[in-house]
């Protein structure tokens, strides 16, 4: 295999729940530094696709390569340690825990400190410091010691992205990062998304077309568990097939 392989490469990925097909032979490549938007109507299989990538669902067939290494059979936590990280659409943050500890727990996991029961104080301090640095980069350093539950929703979504980043991902799956955020707070999310390190390859699943077209340099359209088409945002916007799927057959 050559050195210039895709960051994430999916081949022939299939998944059925009984008679329901959520993925039928999906092929998808994510190049290093990619900003790929994945769109599709409700029930197209977007969430299932993310769960297949992260290992929360087992694929019936097909392979997933991360930087050229096969990860198809790995457990979700092992995939995270290899650099495949996701954010969640719904809130899964540790609400009773402070912001910096939410981050420090993730750092500890990344560094494999989290099995430490004894002799941990210096390492844990470093985890906290790294957490605080990440909060500073997101402009919310002053909230470090507050519990997540005290935060407005928009800032909770920011924290979600911050946690994913301290895991030092090579491939980042963003599952509707701006969902449910009031318009007044959305600009902070957009700013954070724009500032994501260029070297990270990103796949964004999003319902909100404004967000996708703003962020993505390439868009894939998923329909009934199949990649209908892939192209630049302009090409996708102009594609009659896509318009038919999204706007219904009666659309012009």
């Amino acid at each position: 295999m050559t050195t210039s392989h895709a960051a994430l490469s999916v081949r022939g990925l299939c998944k059925n729940f009984g008679a329901l097909t959520v993925a039928q032979s999906i092929d998808l490549d994510l190049q290093p530094g990619a900003r790929l938007g994945l769109i599709g109507p409700n029930g197209a299989g977007k969430t299932s696709f993310v769960n297949l990538l992260t290992g929360m669902l087992r694929a019936d067939a097909g392979t997933i390569l991360l930087n050229g290494e096969e990860i198809t059979g790995l457990k979700p936590e092992a995939r995270v340690h290899r650099g495949l990280v996701r954010t969640h659409q719904i809130n899964t943050l540790l609400l009773e825990t402070s912001l910096r500890e939410n981050l420090a727990i993730a750092v500890a996991e990344r560094e494999n400190f989290a099995w430490r029961l004894l002799r941990f104080t210096p390492q844990w301090r470093r985890c906290l410091a790294e957490g605080e640095a990440q909060l500073a980069a997101f402009g919310i350093a002053d909230l470090a010691q507050h519990r997540v539950a005290e935060l407005p929703y928009g800032q909770q979504r920011l924290l979600e992205i911050a946690i994913a980043l301290v895991l030092k991902p090579r491939v980042l799956l963003l599952d509707e990062p701006a969902a449910g955020v009031p318009a007044a707070e959305a600009h902070a999310i957009h700013a954070a998304l724009d500032k994501l390190p260029a070297e990270i390859s990103i796949l964004m699943i999003e319902h909100d077309m404004d967000v996708v077209f703003r962020f993505a340099r390439e868009i894939a359209v998923l329909v009934q568990g199949r990649v209908l088409t892939t192209g630049t945002p302009q090409a996708i916007a102009a594609d009659p097939q896509v318009r038919a799927v999204y706007l219904g057959r009666s659309a012009p």
Binding site: T54, M56, K75, P76, E77, A78, V80, H81, V85, R86, T87, H88, T92, L93, L94, L95, E96, T97, S98, E101, A104, I105, A106, A108, E109, R110, F113, A114, W115, R116, L117, L118, F120, Q123, W124, C127, D142, L143, Q145, H146, E150, L151, P152, G154, Q155, I163, L167, A184, E185
Partner: protein
């Protein structure tokens, strides 16, 4: 414009019991009382020893249920198995108390590991039922295996040699009390350290959101097995202590009622505080004794009523009350300091 929390008010962390310059004083209080009990308890010293054993047992439930969120109603299995293991070792192998304690702890830990592997992929009501089922099975086994356990008659003929070869276990329970207090202290320090470790914080995360923890790469299942084993070991130590200080093990040590009582103690004291287990168990044992003296037939009624009042009106149990008093005192102090 986003609303930000008030930055000028002291955070809860700053007002927490045990934080700040004189925080250490709060640690002296419970241990000081425990030590003082040795000198003043007189005939009640064996009751004190029983309280210490229940504190350790309740602490083990706080670790599994309070911190890690493992809904277990079967913790008595580890308590009882630890007790029988320590008892059997003293009868058949060696009367040494320390070896007996280690053996009881190890066997309980082993049982925790094996059952944990079997049941910890489940959660909620399913997990609760499985912990109950395992405890019931072990209880039934102990009742049937009369040759090993003495069945209904209990395990008799235990001989415990003097502690460190010097201090015999006397009739008044003086050695027993200090022995139990020392062992409790060691486990308490370990637990205190563990819940503040990266490991302990990941457990707190798993309790709040297993999904989040998997997403940051936590092997949730293994973490839960580890803490379940640890809690089982701790419960096994408590059982071993009980066996050694009573020089007897009965089937009641495996009874589901033991798990239930310890849960009540934990809720009374306050979960996820460690000292909640300490205060709750001590309080329960004392109140139970007083109530039983006051009315030998209806004391459970009093305990039940107390629990209802505590759960309904006092969030966080006795430790919640202590927090409230501490806050009130701190405000008063800050108020006068400003003037």
């Amino acid at each position: 414009m986003t609303v930000r929390p008030d930055m000028s008010a002291p955070t809860l962390a700053q007002l927490r019991l045990g934080a700040g310059r004189f925080g250490w004083a709060w640690h002296v209080l419970p241990w000081g009382v425990a030590l003082a009990t040795y000198f003043v308890a007189g005939a009640y010293l064996t009751l004190g020893t029983a309280a210490l054993e229940m504190i350790l047992f309740t602490l083990s439930i706080d670790l599994a249920l309070g911190y890690a969120g493992i809904v277990t109603f079967g913790q008595a299995a580890f308590f009882g198995v630890g007790a029988y293991a320590a008892g059997l070792l003293s009868i058949h192998v060696t009367p040494d108390p320390i070896l007996g304690l280690l053996f009881g702890t190890a066997i309980a830990a082993l049982l925790g590991l094996v059952t944990g592997v079997l049941i910890l992929h489940t959660e909620g009501v399913t997990l609760m039922m499985l912990t109950l089922a395992i405890a019931s099975m072990i209880g039934a086994f102990a009742a049937q295996a009369g040759d090993l356990t003495g069945g209904d008659n209990g395990l008799q003929g235990m001989q415990i040699s003097p502690l460190f070869g010097v201090f015999p276990f006397d009739l008044w329970g003086q050695t027993g009390y200090l022995y139990a207090l020392g062992v409790l202290f060691l486990w308490f320090v370990a637990a205190w350290r563990i819940v503040r470790s990266p490991f302990g914080r990941s457990l707190d995360g798993i309790r709040q959101s297993p999904r989040r923890m998997r997403a940051i790469g936590t092997p949730v299942w293994w973490r839960l097995i580890a803490v379940y084993t640890l809690a089982a070991a701790m419960a096994g130590t408590a059982g071993s202590l009980k066996a050694q200080t009573n020089q007897f093990v009965g089937l009641d040590s495996l009874d589901l009622l033991v798990s239930g009582t310890a849960l009540v103690m934990l809720i009374l004291g306050g979960t996820r505080r460690l000292y909640g287990a300490f205060v709750g168990a001590a309080f329960y044992v004392v109140v139970q004794d007083l109530a039983a003296e006051f009315d030998p037939f209806r004391w459970m009624f009093l305990i039940g009523g107390l629990l209802v009042v505590m759960v309904l009106f006092l969030e966080g149990g006795l430790m919640g009350v202590a927090d409230w008093l501490h806050h009130a005192a701190a405000r008063l102090w800050l108020g006068t300091a400003r003037k």
